[in-house]
Amino acid sequence: MKWEKKWIFGAMIALFLFVLPWIYDSRSTLILITQIFIFAVFAMSYDLLLGYTGIISFGHAMFFGIGAYSTGIGLMRNGETWTALLYALGITVILCLLLSHVVGMLSLRLKSHYYAMLTLAFTGLLQVGAEKWRSLTKGNDGFTFHIPEFLMDRKIFYLFSLLFMIIIFLFLYQLISSPFGKVLQAIRENERRALSLGYQVVHYKVWANVIAGVIAGLSGMVYALSLRFINTSVFAVDITLDVLLMTIIGGVGTLLGPIIGAALIETAHEMLTELADVHWLFERWIILFGLIYILVVLFFPKGIVGTWNEWMKKERWKKWNRLGL
């Protein structure tokens, strides 16, 4: 009963988001919400590692950047056709698959901090690579490119990103409630016990890493399409930190959390940048976020959605107690 209510509510919100561009037609708002959709996908893929499997990555941006660069380079070289985009998709998936598999195999059998360090190193390597390989990437300056005309329309692109987010959400929802997803959560909860039940923990971790990597790559593709511009900043540590923040503020170990986190961070980002004229501090918004981050970790370690769930549970308990059950 309760379960169905949840889905109806979700469908209503989705429906509202689908018609939004025709109700409220503001260019800057549409662009902002589109960014939120994209980062929500990126954050959900990150949460599959952090929240569901218990793996900390400091280099999730590497997959994001690969997706973005494949798209940019592909569309620039092969022209703004759907075929070129399809090629870029293939390359993104293959590269992310390979890289996540290699990084995973190298480090996931070791203690968790090795994985964190290795991802950091790999991302740094890719960033330097993108800077130096100027013939391919135009270095730090980056380049602009055209996208298929159909996607040029902001409303269409908004709907495209929304659909993208919903599909990934449903896929990940299916994943986390599947036998495979439950084992991931078991690993997060108690790796030793998962082993003693007979699960090959390392394989599970590597697969979680691969799935998270490919989805991050896809979100990077859509990100590049939305900007029609790319430079080395897609590999920056900031991107990983942003997505870490989104996941933690929204609520680790939930799928809704990263979406809400993405919405909050992107909106705050936008508003603070506008306030930069008022005081210089607002331009250094990362300082403020650092503060928020510390406060959240100290007082709401479960994030918004996690805290909400817990609170709801307590309320339900109270109700039961009142009924004398």
Binding site: F180, A186, E189, A194, S196, L197, G198, Y199, Q200
Partner: protein, 253 residues
């Protein structure tokens, strides 16, 4: 009677300290064997070696005539060595049912399924419910494991172990820390396992009456060595064993 588990000169040292020294035992199939010995005699370490949490410094372990000495814990579980832990070791933020279902799922060999049919998922759940009923825990199925009482966690632990349906069960003090009224229920459960006669059970316990009633064979570990083995009656009349325990009244009926 054929033996299912054999150890050969099993030795482990931590630093310079010898924790187990040249243990040679042979466990008969479908028999109930208890391991006793004072604290620090190496009982849990012995289990850790059998289940693969620790690797021996010397010696070998054979399970069904296969050398498993170098196998990882998960591989040994898949072969048929299941174990419960003395310190409760469940998945705290999953529900009780999910905890057991994970064990059922491992037993069924369902691993990398993302699009698993709902109907089959239900079957896994039903199977898990059966084990929960056996462990008298069905009323707690939707509770997070972390909110269970200590005794309930132990029951969950046992339900998970049973759900693995392994041929060999290693039970490390299943009643430790349980309230007195909970103990008989666990005893009954273990007795019923024994009565089914299709499992080999190894039990570490301190409660002597429990050991007397259940065991076909008793192993005594004392100061890192295997001091004696035999039927419960033999062990109780064994003078070495009597003197090993203070004054000998430990084993008095």
């Amino acid at each position: 009677m054929e033996s299912i588990l054999k150890t050969q000169n099993l030795t482990i040292t931590f630093g310079g300290h010898i924790v187990l020294k040249e243990i040679n035992v042979s466990i008969q199939r479908n028999r109930f064997t208890s391991i006793i010995g004072p604290n620090g005699a190496g009982k849990t370490t012995f289990f850790n070696l059998l289940s693969g949490q620790l690797k021996p410094t010397q010696g070998r372990i054979f399970f069904r005539d296969q050398d498993v000495t170098q196998l990882s814990p998960d591989a040994r579980t898949r072969l048929g060595i299941g174990r419960s832990f003395q310190i409760t070791d469940v998945f705290p933020h999953l529900t009780v049912l999910e905890n057991v279902r994970l064990a059922v799922q491992a037993r069924a060999g369902i691993h990398f399924h993302v699009f698993y049919p709902k109907q089959k998922m239900k079957e896994l759940e039903d199977k898990a419910m059966e084990w929960l009923k056996k462990a008298l825990l069905e009323h707690k199925k939707n509770e997070l494991a972390t909110y269970l009482t200590h005794g309930e966690k132990r029951k969950l632990e046992i339900a998970m172990l049973l759900a693995l349906e392994t041929e060999l069960l290693l039970l490390d003090e299943p009643t430790a820390g349980m309230s007195l009224e909970e103990v008989p229920m666990i005893l009954e459960l273990i007795q019923s396992l024994k009565d089914e006669q299709n499992r080999t059970i190894l039990l570490i316990e301190h409660k002597m009456d429990m050991i007397r009633n259940l065991s076909d064979q008793v192993l005594v570990l004392y100061q890192s060595e295997l001091l004696a083995q035999g039927t419960p009656e033999e062990i109780m009349q064994n003078e070495l064993v009597q003197s090993a325990y203070l004054g000998g009244d430990f084993l008095a009926p």
